[in-house]
């Protein structure tokens, strides 16, 4: 069997077909690549944990006496005459530095009212003759549920602001014709025995779009709004 070379014309035609088939293949691969975009896949975003719902909570961190009554909760803490005797007011005891000694029965109370702890006498606010009420500086009796007015008897400007809705938070409707609004009581935010609001954990800071945490160190001008 001897090899007979095809005529030169046929040879050229075959060559052309192979070249053209190769080109088709190349174009198809290119088209597929353009659709799949293997070189430009979006960078996977770092997961961001959802914020703790505690940070979305609107309930104030303390409950006032009025709240407890409204919620029909346990009021046994306010039944003073279970332990104390009527007509026999509890004596106040002081240590060598003239600071009040809080008896063990009231160990949950930490005194810290006023700068240098100056407002440290129980009967500055509680009524000595009737422990179920408060007494204002001018000698009026006030119910437990009316505690904000007691605070106002000393803190006049803040009380005025509070009445105008400017000190402390309001909830509900700014437009009083359209719905109810609720003004918080002083003791919803301030512990009357130590009124300074305690520090708290802040909610998480904003997460950067950048990939690596090292890049997140703030640039000097990063925070300018």
């Amino acid at each position: 069997m001897s090899f007979v070379p095809p005529p030169p014309q046929e040879q050229a035609a075959r060559k052309a077909i192979w070249v053209l088939l190769g080109l088709t293949g190349a174009f198809l691969i290119l088209a597929a690549a353009m659709l799949a975009k293997p070189w430009a896949q979006p960078v996977a975003r770092r997961p961001i944990p959802l914020v703790d719902p505690a940070f979305l909570e609107q309930t104030p961190w303390r409950k006032s006496y009025a709240d407890l009554v409204r919620g029909k909760e346990d009021l046994s803490d306010f039944e003073c005459y279970v332990c104390h005797e009527k007509k026999n007011p509890p004596p106040l005891r002081f240590d060598a530095q003239q600071t009040l000694i809080v008896p063990d029965e009231h160990s949950d109370i930490k005194m810290g009212h006023g700068s240098h702890n100056r407002n440290n006498l129980c009967f500055n606010c509680h009524n000595e003759t009737n422990l179920l009420t408060f007494s204002t500086r001018d000698g009026n009796e006030l119910k437990f549920s009316d505690s904000s007015r007691l605070c106002g008897s000393c803190h006049g400007p803040n009380y005025r602001d509070w009445e105008a809705g400017v000190h402390g938070r309001m909830n509900g409707y700014w437009n009083h014709q359209l719905g109810e609004f609720r003004r918080l009581d002083c003791v919803n935010c301030h512990n009357p025995h130590a009124p300074r609001i305690p520090t708290r954990q802040p909610a998480p800071p904003p997460h950067s779009l950048r990939e690596s945490p090292e890049e997140e160190t703030p640039a000097p001008h990063a925070a300018t709004p």
Binding site: L23, V51, A164, V166, R200, P202, P205
Partner: protein, 317 residues
Amino acid sequence: MPLPEDSSAAEPGSLERLMSRRNFLRSSAAFAGLGALAASLSPLRELGEFSSVDEFMQKYYKEMTPEDMARVIKRIEGDVQRQYGIRPHVRDLKPMDGVEFVYCLNLTRCIGCRKCVHACVAENNQSRNPEIQYIRVLRLPHGSMDLEKAEHNYNPAAVPEKGYFYMPVQCQQCHNPPCVKVCPVHATWQEKDGITVIDYDWCIGCRYCEAACPYWARRFNFTKPEIPKERLNPNMAYLGNRPRKQGVMEKCHFCIQRTRAGRYPACLEVCPVGARKFGNILDPDSEVSYILREKRVFIQLKEEMGTNPRFFYYFEK
């Protein structure tokens, strides 16, 4: 190279004829061209379920009749339900007569706890990843109002920290808003009650407004917003917190879905120290009127820009 012309001419209908170089190049070029076209259109696939013919044909907000709006709201409700499985309550709330909103923020009281930031995100259906937040809380050292010294990534164990005060910044709802002036398609405008709003269906995403705003109050949706179904707020407004799509701007709108129904904004209702105050400045008995009358209202932020914000920062006496 000799061309195979002769053979194709000699044998009509042969393989060489069908696969002549010219035909072949033509068809493969057409093929590649189609492929390239499909590839160039492929970003449309990522736009997702939100684009529809109805949306494309929708009229400009101010030209819509109530019937048009009812139809649009129905479409939005359907879209949201399809996407999140929750039937929302979308409203188009109009500004009230005799009402101009003003916000006051007490810098003495703010403790920088960022609860407002996250309450806002929850109320206004902002994207959780990438994060979009309308409020940025700045921490500034005492004795300075220099924003160059501000820090917003602070994350101590407890706030407030000694030696610092905190200044939350959000849309200032300017009387003279630069963002509105630069919008080439009038997709953002100032309403009668002072709120600068955005029509998310009209926004083209050019981000001019973001560049124009001196307070960095505007945010851009680079991706489709990611909102977990269980955290979607179904109380929505057309100009407010309805879910946005990829490629549009958004910003604080004083919780339009709440405030135009008479309620306080979400950031205010969550503030643990009552530093945020909101109300109608045209009502002399409102809290904000009282503050502007009685308090040391210290600044409108970047007063020198001439934007005349409706957002006031004040200090206690």
